[in-house]
Point group: C2
Chain length 143, copies 2
């Protein structure tokens, strides 16, 4: 697992309200689809997505208390990498919240929570360009 | 505010336990100081820090439920930028949890929570190299 965070997804109550807040700070999404807004930042991509959908996708039972409402994504070049990293995380004591499986966006991903409950997605997403340093370029606008 | 996330800080219960977990996944800290571990990733830096200290530093009353235990940091070139962004965030409805002030590490920072409670630090830190894209290089090891 190279040291990379491809995406930081913030679970939000109302997408339009959250988008308006980040717009007020000067952020502009490069891509929007399926009720999700993607903001290309410095290698990492900030994502706004409905908290309930994010929880469901991560396999997390969200009681509004024990989960942060944030997921960090580590993107990898192959399905085998997803399997391998998930196995290593489980062996190290992580709770695997989503077993490696195909995703609705045509990828393959797993989810786990680290020893303090912080949520990670490990994803192979052919729809995103994956850079050698582990960044993704969601890229309507080349940078 | 340019679109950047300089650091993602995970609040942890026991630093050594958390470090051992990330070591098992293949992560190596480039810098450790004051009970904090810094992992240089793809532009963004992953930081492990005691959750209680992170909460105190951010001005957050951590009841273990309504805060994520995660802080995103947006680093800027000047104190004036900290003041300006904090003002814009407040005007957009954010709760300012830490008014702009000098920090223990010789910088100047503020903290706010967005409309969904996600915590941001806005920091001017002369001790970190700030890249034009908003990344910091904590850099014992050049990349």
């Amino acid at each position: 697992m190279i040291q990379s965070i491809a995406l930081v997804t913030l679970g939000v109550g109302e997408l339009e309200r959250a988008k308006a807040f980040y717009a007020a700070l000067g952020w502009t999404p490069q891509r929007e689809m399926d009720g999700t807004a993607f903001y290309q930042a410095n290698g990492v991509v900030l994502v706004l997505w409905a908290r309930a959908k994010l929880a469901e996708d991560m396999g997390i039972a969200d009681d509004g208390a024990t989960w942060s409402g944030i997921a960090l994504a580590h993107n990898v070049p192959s399905k085998e990498d997803v399997d391998d990293i998930t196995r290593r995380a489980r062996d190290a004591g992580a709770e695997v919240t989503r077993e490696p499986a195909e995703t609705f966006y045509g990828g393959y991903a797993a989810g786990f929570r680290d020893l303090d409950g912080h949520a990670w997605e490990v994803a192979h997403n052919p729809g995103f360009g994956l850079m050698p340093d582990g960044s993704v370029d969601i890229g309507a606008e080349p940078r």
